[in-house]
């Protein structure tokens, strides 16, 4: 039977563009779904219970931060980029700040570097604890969730005492930090870090022995080293297969080149490995904070810099709890930046996450998607979506340039082989 045009388009909408797959096998996941903290859409193609294909659609919380940055003074952008993410807020402002500092001739005082390290590591502990709690929640182990989030309050209280706020710390300034460490805080922090390391060891033991967690996480989301290398995953997603990928060690920033520490890698390559990895990392972070608090150098915490930044361009990399974040800043010597680009770890980890989902059952989707510690609010930057055919694709800069020429000068016959290949 021939379908009418209206019926065809209705069907196309129903199947979200996946005409080649039958409707019975397609499960839409999101954009609003209890397993996702933020809106994101995944089209899951199933064969029985098994996932054979996952097609993401990103861009639901695109806020246009990079464009907004071009119209604001340098210092105002510091607070705007801090609000890119609600969990790893400090590291965003740190990374942006470092890129801008490189353009100026001022140096960051040593004490400020140590305070930056302490706050960044506190943030890592809080983010990892939050994640372990969520993993417990999705695996059906609610008690773990309650315990872990209770311990997370300890970290948040320390952060609140140092900075005044629990989440958006507003600690960073260009070439320094805004607040010094409170007096007589050292013993308190050391004691609490010792307690948290003990708790982390206890959770590690639970995860290794508890049936609920083992059933849900072992051999789920398996990836090989080759796949992870090919898909360029960053942070814990690379370390859980044994790749030594950590900006703190590979390209030290803040005071990471002055404190002794070793990064954790694991070889399991499944969700269980990710859990062990993040809890081990948490223990390393507590050691780092204890060392930094004990060896905090004396001196100034900030150098005041003028509101005009000299012309030039620079990039900066930092290790956020989720992986490597990247900021590129270009200045033309004015009061506002010419261009700011930020790349977040979830965008880099998403291809690997989709690979993890393939071959799993539908029931594993929430736990695997939570396992990459997604932060879609951070990730949503730029995507192409053809609303007529509902197809998505990506372009390189050269392809975009050629498309621009073709769009504005359609009469000039420029038959680009690159465009033909990728434009659907």
């Amino acid at each position: 039977m021939k379908m009418s045009e209206s019926k065809k388009s209705a069907r196309r909408e129903e199947t979200a563009g996946l005409m080649e797959y039958s409707t019975e096998n397609l499960v839409p996941f999101g954009p609003i779904h209890p397993a996702l903290k933020e809106p994101e859409y995944f089209k899951l193609v199933l064969e029985g219970e098994k996932i054979v294909e996952v097609i993401p659609r990103i861009g639901y919380v695109h806020r246009g931060l990079e464009k907004a940055a071009e119209g604001r003074p340098w210092v105002q952008n510091m607070y705007m980029f801090e609000r890119t993410c609600g969990i790893c807020s400090f590291v965003h402002s740190l990374c942006y700040g470092q890129a801008v500092e490189e353009l100026t001739m001022y140096k960051v005082p040593k004490r400020a570097k140590y305070i930056r390290l302490i706050i960044a590591e506190l943030e890592r502990i809080h983010s990892h604890l939050l994640w372990v709690g969520l993993m417990g929640h999705w695996a059906g182990f609610e008690t773990l969730f309650m315990w872990v989030w209770q311990d997370r309050e300890i970290v948040l209280d320390i952060v609140e005492t140092i900075s005044g706020n629990r989440v958006h710390k507003s600690m960073n300034a260009f070439c320094g930090v805004r607040r010094d460490m409170p007096e007589n805080m050292e013993d308190h922090i050391v004691e609490k870090m010792k307690y948290l390391a003990g708790r982390a060891r206890y959770y590690r033991e639970i995860i290794d022995t508890e049936e609920t967690m083992l059933e849900r996480t072992q051999k789920v989301g398996k990836l090989s080293v080759d796949t992870v290398e090919k898909l360029c995953a960053v942070g814990p997603m690379a370390r859980y297969v044994g790749i030594q990928n950590d900006v703190r060690l590979n390209d030290p920033y803040a005071a990471y080149d002055e404190v002794p520490f070793s990064i954790v890698t694991r070889n399991e390559g499944d969700v269980q490995g990710l859990l062990r990895l993040r809890l081990d990392e948490l223990i390393v972070s507590t050691d780092l904070i204890t060392y930094a608090v004990k060896h905090l150098p004396e001196g100034p915490i900030r150098v005041k810099i003028p509101p005009v930044i000299p012309a030039g361009e620079h990039s900066s990399r930092c290790e956020a709890p989720r992986g490597e974040i990247f900021y590129y800043v270009k200045s033309t010597g004015g009061r506002t930046p010419d261009r700011v680009k930020s790349r977040q770890p979830t965008l880099a980890n998403l291809p690997a996450a989709l690979e993890m989902l393939k071959g799993q059952t539908l029931a594993d989707v929430p736990i695997v998607l939570t396992a990459i510690d997604p932060c879609f609010g951070c990730m949503d930057r730029m995507s192409f979506l053809d609303t007529e055919t509902n197809k998505q694709w990506t372009w390189s800069g050269e392809q975009l340039r050629q498309y621009g020429i073709k769009h504005y000068f359609p009469n000039q016959s420029r038959n680009s082989p690159i465009l033909k290949e990728t434009h659907p």
């Binding site: 604001r72 003074p73 210092v75 105002q76 952008n77 510091m78 607070y79 705007m80 609000r83 209770q150 609140e160 005492t161 140092i162 900075s163 005044g164 706020n165 958006h168 507003s170 805004r178 607040r179 409170p182």
Partner: protein, 117 residues
């Protein structure tokens, strides 16, 4: 197990008991109108466009007539970063410990203290 059953809840007993706030807590913004000189630095650094400067009259310096400006604070958009307080050279601004700002009327959060006095 029994110890856990007998202990009090770990959560704060908040609306019924006041909570202790840390020393550096950043709450509602407040201004001392007597100290403000209308230099506009706070309006320049504010990331959330909370502060707008309005003319409240003129002032004569020698032969020149200068506009006198004072800030109006739209606290409903404040993000509590405290950058204005840091940059105020005359110590006219401060962050109070007040954080219960919920109100049915948005205009309650517009602070015209510096203009009206």
């Amino acid at each position: 197990m029994f110890r856990l059953m007998l202990q009090t809840p770990v959560t704060e007993d908040y609306p019924f008991k006041p909570i202790t706030l840390p020393e550096r807590f950043r709450g509602k913004l407040d201004i001392d109108p007597a100290r403000c000189t209308g230099c506009q630095v706070c309006a320049l650094v504010c990331p959330a466009s909370v502060i707008t400067m309005v003319d409240i009259g003129t002032r004569k310096v020698g032969d020149r007539v200068l506009q006198v400006k004072r800030p109006i604070f739209e606290l409903s958009t404040c993000i509590f970063c405290g950058e204005c307080v840091d940059n105020c050279a005359f110590k006219a601004l401060e962050m109070t410990k007040q954080f219960e700002l919920a109100t049915p009327n948005k205009s309650d959060l517009t602070m015209r203290k510096a203009v009206s006095s």
